[in-house]
Symmetry: C2
Subunit: 321 residues, 2 copies
């Protein structure tokens, strides 16, 4: 068996964050070595609490969970997305409170510590706004030199946005942080991958999958099935059927290397931080797609446009193993 | 036979503009009643000269061609796109000079006059930057009330741009004019359609089509075939084969109603006039596509995403009839 990948997860837990967490805890490819909480779907304190409680349900101890900044890099926290993820981020579910408390370090401190502990092998997986990541880069510009890969769920390149017509919520919540994290001098130092709505909206969890989770003996799977109710209600008018998109779980499976990338050109990426209608948009230079590849060979960021199978298959195989 | 549609063409002729012009002159569905020239592919004076010379080759007289503004609505003319369309807009070809001179009126004056002459039936087809259109709207805000339909080749919604990663050249050349022309109070008054790169890049003219034009007895068809050489050279690295996109001709065929729109939701459209990387982008709210339709029924602009057959078939049938 190959070495497990040490993963630092930065998340705003969040229903699909919870599914991603469930996958990361159970994947044989992953060693989840630390978690940062960021404001996004809910505030960073609540996100940390949700994460701790989910770890408790999973029976997992020893993974530090650190609270990140409450406000974003250059704008205030906006109060979360209760209509998507419920008032508390996890569909309003009251989970048994775990005895584990947040780490004494901030998310930034934890990430920097882990980048030394796992220097050269650490993967950073960010599935919320990039606030903590930008703050860590600001605090220690040498961070990328010790991180092997940086995978982000966020953005909408040739797909519609979700929070606006042009922008996806994670990036739109903190465009300046995203611009910091995807600056050319940073992306030159680590292997950066963006998992945007272009691909995540193509990967859904359907009612039969929810039922499979609900029928499990595993308490974590059953809790995920229950909180998915709220999320699937939100997505019903968007897809025209009761389902939900697997944004964060897809990014997690990609970070773990457990799915193949069938269309993922590496191209220049700019984040729109202007005040126009494209604020928070991820401008990837995909002009190469007309000749059959978007790969400009100009470096930049790998933009995942398609993977080689439905991610739900990987998720259920792993969570229900 | 149904009534011919009176069409005012605003163009920056331009190789694909020339093909569109050839189609409009020959289409039994169209009565081309006036032409405005705008700076874009080349400057407005040269665009008018090219247009007049093409009318001469076609043996057509009596269509007024008016010169529009040299500079754009809110930025200077940038010198054209010689690498795409040649130094003179038509691939460097030296056409026999037509005896017809430009109309004494400006393009704005001609458009406003025609809007009275054909009040309630005039179609405005704009295949260059929207400078003249914005200036006409500024000069006479009642213009849209007399115009039946407004069809624009421009923009890139869920497709890459061409002049930048996010923006298409017509809109990027004069974003403020486009914002003026697509302002909600304007689009509420006429039937507005955008024909963006999303669909135009799917419609190409291949070498065998060029050969068919070259083999024609019609001098206009032969001239088009010759100037297409330059355009197809430009597109070779973009498509990976010698071909070219039929941007303006597709908009012309759509304006003439000679092709069916198989995917054309009517949605809110914003033009990015900020100074970020999305300047000149066309932000159409296509979030409805995940449920099978982008039609939000919130008014706005019809965004053509697909048509019901290859436009080259319509073009060749008409030009070579």
């Amino acid at each position: 068996m190959t070495e497990r990948i040490p993963v630092f997860l930065d998340c705003d837990t969040g229903i699909d964050d919870a599914v991603a967490l469930g996958y990361l805890l159970r994947s044989p490819a992953v060693d989840l070595v630390g978690i940062g909480a960021v404001s996004g779907n809910t505030d960073s304190s609540q996100a940390a609490r949700n994460t701790l409680d989910l770890l408790g349900i999973a029976g997992v101890t020893g993974i530090p969970v650190a609270v990140g900044a409450h406000h974003h890099f250059s704008q205030d926290y906006r109060g979360g997305a209760a209509h998507v993820h419920g008032d508390n981020g996890i569909g309003g579910m009251q989970l048994p409170r775990s005895e584990q408390e947040p780490d004494a370090r901030t998310a930034v401190e934890l990430l920097i510590d882990l980048s030394h502990q796992y220097a050269g092998t650490l993967h950073v997986l960010a599935v919320g706004p990039l606030t903590n990541i930008a703050l860590a880069l600001q605090a220690d510009p040498t961070l990328p030199s010790r991180v092997k890969a940086f995978t982000v769920m966020g953005g909408a390149c040739l797909a519609p946005g979700n929070i606006t017509a042009a922008a996806e919520a994670n990036i739109h919540n903190d465009p300046e942080a995203a611009a910091y994290a995807f600056a050319a001098e940073v992306t030159a130092q680590w292997d950066a991958t963006l998992v945007p709505l272009d691909v995540t909206m193509q990967h859904t969890l359907e009612e039969q999958h929810q039922h499979a989770l609900a029928a499990s003996d595993d308490p974590l799977a059953r809790v995920l099935a229950e909180m998915l109710d709220h999320y699937m209600d939100f997505y019903r008018p968007i897809f025209g059927r009761r389902t939900c998109a697997l944004h964060d779980p897809l990014a997690a499976v990609i970070a773990a290397g457990e799915i193949g990338l069938s269309d993922a050109p590496r191209v220049p990426l700019e984040i729109d931080t202007a005040d126009g209608p494209a604020r928070g948009a991820t401008i990837a230079d995909l002009r190469g797609i007309h000749r059959g590849t978007g790969d400009s060979s100009r470096g930049g960021v790998r933009i995942v446009r398609a993977v080689d199978r439905p991610v739900i298959d990987v998720l259920l195989d792993t969570i229900l193993r």
